[in-house]
Amino acid sequence: MALSCVLEPALSGFNFENSTRNIVLENGSEEGKIKAPKPMKTGTTIAGVVYKDGVVLGADTRATSDEVVADKMCAKIHYIAPNIYCCGAGTAADTEKTTEMLSSNLTIFSMNSGRNPRVVMAVNILQDMLFRYRGMIGAHLILGGVDCTGSHLYTVGPYGSMDKVPYLAMGSGNLPAMGILEDRFKANMDLEEAKSLVSDAIHAGIMSDLGSGNNIDLCVITKEGVDYIRPHKESPFNYKRQAKYKYKPGTTPVLTKTVTQVELELLDETVQMMETAGSS
């Protein structure tokens, strides 16, 4: 409560200003007055697992805009704090900006208080913000990190709900990924087991979901530090260009060449002295 410069001051109770705004926008767009733009969704598989020494987060790298792959190497594991990372599914812009804002807030907090941020603080800030916007921010997030109280994995939904879990998958590919996690998750796994479990879960999502694909990124967070492995596994279906599309100079034959001199007439000339104000 003493650090008021971190966020806008928390008013007690609820502030539903955005609800009326949302209703007006929704009704307006139905009558054709306001056309809401179609946002780019990540159509994703993201997963996280708590293991013996920390947390492993994983994500695919495909960003889709309807049927077209908009980005083949999109980074879905976002930096929040040196000890906290966040995977985002849903609308790409919303996850990007939400996690950036969260990261800025936590950095300011660390500087002001001299303490490392805790994962639960990040979750609280996210929950407050997403609840305030009543689900209009389409960010489905998996937060993982290690702080002085231990290793934690949380999920935050777009309406502001949160849950603390030992393993989790989200995004459009979450059903196949959850199948793998439910089958092979054990408490207190070691690092290699955890990495291969998350990697296989993302792989299942990639294989069974059209919105997920390309490479697999992993992020391992422990008390000692973070290992951001990008990419952990590359897609074996990378398309290699068959030919070069650069043309050497001289490829196009020159048929004729005409040189026309442009006559310039000097009409007016003025000189302005520059004030070089130096101490002489």
Binding site: S12, F131, G157, P158, G160, S161
Partner: protein, 225 residues
């Protein structure tokens, strides 16, 4: 990429649930199931915690939209802690229930969450309050709530007797939860119980009543424990 069709009333994760609270001489028992669903057909969590401790001897259990319920309990926890510091003594259970009621009633258009608040205080001893979705506040010796409660009204009315001992209340609570979980598709998982008395929250029991495991309480058997 919406694979799940959303429930028309509750958007996002919903706590279709069974919650209850029973008063006995010396304390209260508050209990809930542990299932969170999305769209009526997908279980998004099998072990979610619906019992929230809003103060040392006051618990709330949530039903309705998970996001709304969590936001309300967090606001209530803050206001209650502030009130308790101002008064320099532990808050009354009635105070906690009133705070929840204010929030539910003032914002009834935007929110959809119902609660059962139960606890112990020095003035009136053990109490159980039911705060419904529209903001109605009622004090009762025992109460059941959530979508699964409709299946156990008969059982609760038949089995409850005033002046039960703590063990009898515990059995009553666990059996009621098990029967409701057996019939309601959006209630399930394990039964979480919290027993609150003067000595504080005694034990938080996760009575393992997951219906697919060995200690199975079938819905059609009247549990004889």
């Amino acid at each position: 990429m919406n694979r799940h069709s959303f429930d028309s009333r509750v958007k996002g994760v919903s706590l279709g649930t069974t919650i209850l609270a029973v008063k006995f001489a010396g304390g209260v028992i508050i209990g809930s199931d542990s299932r969170a669903s999305m769209g009526g057909s997908y279980v998004s969590s099998k072990v979610i915690n619906k019992l929230v401790q809003v103060h040392d001897r006051i618990f709330c259990c949530m039903s309705g939209s998970l996001a709304d319920a969590q936001a309300i309990t967090r606001a209530a926890k803050f206001q209650l802690a502030f009130h308790s510091i101002q008064m320099d003594e532990p808050p009354l259970v009635m105070a906690a229930a009133s705070i929840m009621q204010e929030l539910c009633y003032q914002h009834k258009e935007e929110l959809s969450a119902g609660f059962i608040t139960a606890g112990w205080d020095r003035k009136k001893g053990p109490q159980v309050y039911s705060v419904s979705m529209g903001g109605m506040l009622v004090s009762q010796p025992f109460t059941i709530g959530g979508s699964g409660s409709t299946y156990i009204y008969g059982y609760a009315d038949a089995k409850y007797k005033p002046g039960m001992t703590r063990e009898e209340c515990q059995t009553f609570a666990v059996n009621a939860l098990a029967l409701a979980m057996g019939r309601d598709n959006v209630s399930g998982g394990v039964a979480h119980l919290a027993i609150i008395s003067e000595k504080g929250e005694d034990m938080k029991e996760d009575a393992d009543r997951a219906l697919s495991q060995s200690r199975c309480v079938m819905g059609n058997s009247k549990a004889k424990e």
